[in-house]
């Protein structure tokens, strides 16, 4: 038991501070990706239910690609692809430098596009659950399209989309583990380093496993709070 406490202690001998920084990176990455993915997913859903066929086509191509590719592949394509692409572009305009893409940014972008393509489906089915009369009622009282969206449709949309989106949040949280492969120091990478140095692989990977579990449990608690808040208008009905 002593040795376990020592391994997890903060300071130069223990790995506690390194792992804590890993938790911080994982949580930050997931939280930073969320608004980006949500906004993108919302607009893709808008495009998918548009009357304009070309807009629907473009949105469908987007979701087909990013829901069909493995997340790890998307991450590699963006991380390595952006690096090579930028270098080619800089060579083209006559600048020769070695560039390294920020792995946090690449991870955020990759996880965000994957999240948004799934989120667009959730938003779309939520849109379909809102009766047309809600829009017509909004227009009838003289609201513009933007106002109807913001004040009539969106509040209902959020409540309808919440269960699907909370699932996607949990998926996103788990997918952040993939960024450990592009040298971003998240939970899994930090515990991996600790495992290699101390030769206590089972202990440290077990720690990572439990940390993800704790994050999932915390998310579950927060999500049920938000759901209760979202459903407050339906109480007693």
């Amino acid at each position: 038991m002593d040795s376990v406490l020592e391994l997890l202690s903060f300071g130069p001998d223990g790995w506690g501070d390194e792992i804590a920084s890993g938790v911080f990176v994982t949580v930050t990455l997931a939280l930073a990706t969320l608004p980006f993915g949500l906004a993108l997913g919302f607009f893709v859903a808008l495009a998918k239910q548009s009357e304009e066929p070309s807009l629907r086509l473009a949105a469908n191509i987007y979701t087909t690609i990013f829901r069909g590719l493995p997340e790890l592949m998307t991450l590699f394509l963006i991380y390595f692809g952006a690096q090579i692409g930028l270098r080619q572009f800089l060579l083209f305009i006559g600048v020769e430098t070695a560039i390294e893409i920020n792995s946090f940014l690449a991870g955020m972008l990759a996880l965000g596009v994957v999240f948004s393509s799934y989120a667009s489906e959730v938003f779309l089915s939520a849109f379909r659950a809102i009766p047309k009369g809600q829009y017509e009622g909004g227009f009838a009282v003289g609201l513009t399209w933007g106002q109807t969206m913001r004040k009539v449709v969106l509040p209902q949309l959020i409540r309808l989309a919440l269960p699907g989106l909370s699932n996607l949040w949990l998926v996103l949280l788990k997918d952040t583990a993939l960024v450990s492969t592009i040298a971003l120091s998240d939970i899994l990478r930090q515990t991996g380093i600790a495992a290699r140095v101390t030769k206590q692989a089972f202990f440290f990977y077990g720690t990572a496993f439990l940390l993800y579990l704790v994050l999932a449990i915390i998310s579950g608690i927060v999500i049920s709070r938000i759901e209760r808040y979202g459903n407050r208008g339906l109480a007693g009905r």
Binding site: S54, M73, L77, K174, L188, G192
Partner: protein, 276 residues
């Protein structure tokens, strides 16, 4: 005959409604053009980078990788579906202890990343090589493919158990009661009445799970299994040619899209008696 021709000739069709250049239409055309350009650039890159020597040298590796991916996914799906049966039944059990145990299993494997599970089994258990050798299991855990298989089976069993339990729960209670009223035994009623209805509900989630497994299987490349992703990584490390990844991405997309369409067809076929 001429009557028809005459009639169509005299019909005056109303003019098409005006199609103004709305913001949505401009955005739609713009994004389709962007996709078109990206697609053309993609094809152009793959065509100009096409090198018969490289293809002859590395092409077969992709085929090998695809076979590894598909066999890994298929075998863990089958193993997982067998394992999921007792877990799903436990989830539905009236015994609170059994139900909690099954729920705990499902929560454990659905709440943590697949990558962490694979690492825990492959690297984590590798630490106990002496003990595993003593009980004769080291031969199994030494191989990365086996570890990936074990992790995937345990993982998909949790997901499949949840799908199955939800589907069985979705069958109305009256079906059980009706079967009981006819004097059918519980197990017979389950097999002949409940399960067929439950499996139809479970069809779509099962299809999603297969696709998620194919996509998720790419992570075994990190524990040195040469699946499609692993081969792409290997080729990239030898050639530093980006098309190594692009070709693997194309193959993944083809597999997933083909599977999705096949599954849609199967679903339409199996539920054709429900169409009204």
């Amino acid at each position: 005959m001429s009557d028809v021709a005459l009639r169509t000739a005299t019909i005056e069709r109303p003019p098409d409604p005006p199609r103004p250049w709305t913001g949505g239409r401009i955005a739609g055309y713009f994004s389709v053009i962007v996709w078109g350009l990206l697609g053309a650039g993609f094809v152009w890159f793959l065509v100009t980078a096409w090198d018969p020597e490289l293809v002859a040298k590395y092409g077969p590796r992709y085929w090998e990788g695809l076979k590894v991916t598909l066999s890994l996914v298929l075998s863990s799906l089958v193993a997982g579906s067998i394992l999921s049966l007792p877990v799903a039944l436990g989830r539905l059990s009236e015994n609170r202890f059994v139900a909690a145990l099954a729920y705990g299993y499902i929560y454990l494997f659905r709440g943590t990343p697949l990558l962490a599970q694979v690492f825990l089994i492959y690297y984590g258990l590798g630490q106990f090589s002496k003990e595993l050798k003593a009980i004769g299991l080291w031969g199994f855990f030494r191989d990365a493919w086996n570890c990936g298989f074990l992790a995937f089976s345990l993982n998909t069993a949790a997901y499949q158990a949840e799908i199955l339990a939800g589907a069985i729960r979705s069958v109305p209670k009256g079906q059980w009661e009706g079967a009981a009223a006819l004097g059918l035994q519980r197990f017979f009623a389950f097999r002949k009445i409940i399960l067929p209805q439950a499996l139809i509900v479970a069809l779509r989630p099962y299809g999603n799970e297969i696709i998620l497994m194919i996509k998720g299987s790419a992570i075994v490349a990190i524990i040195t299994v040469y699946d499609l992703m692993g081969q792409a990584r290997w080729v990239f490390s030898k050639t530093f040619d980006f098309q190594a990844y692009l070709w693997a991405a194309v193959f993944y997309l083809i597999v997933v899209e083909a599977l999705r369409n096949i599954w849609n067809w199967i679903e339409a076929r199996l539920t054709r008696h429900l169409k009204r």
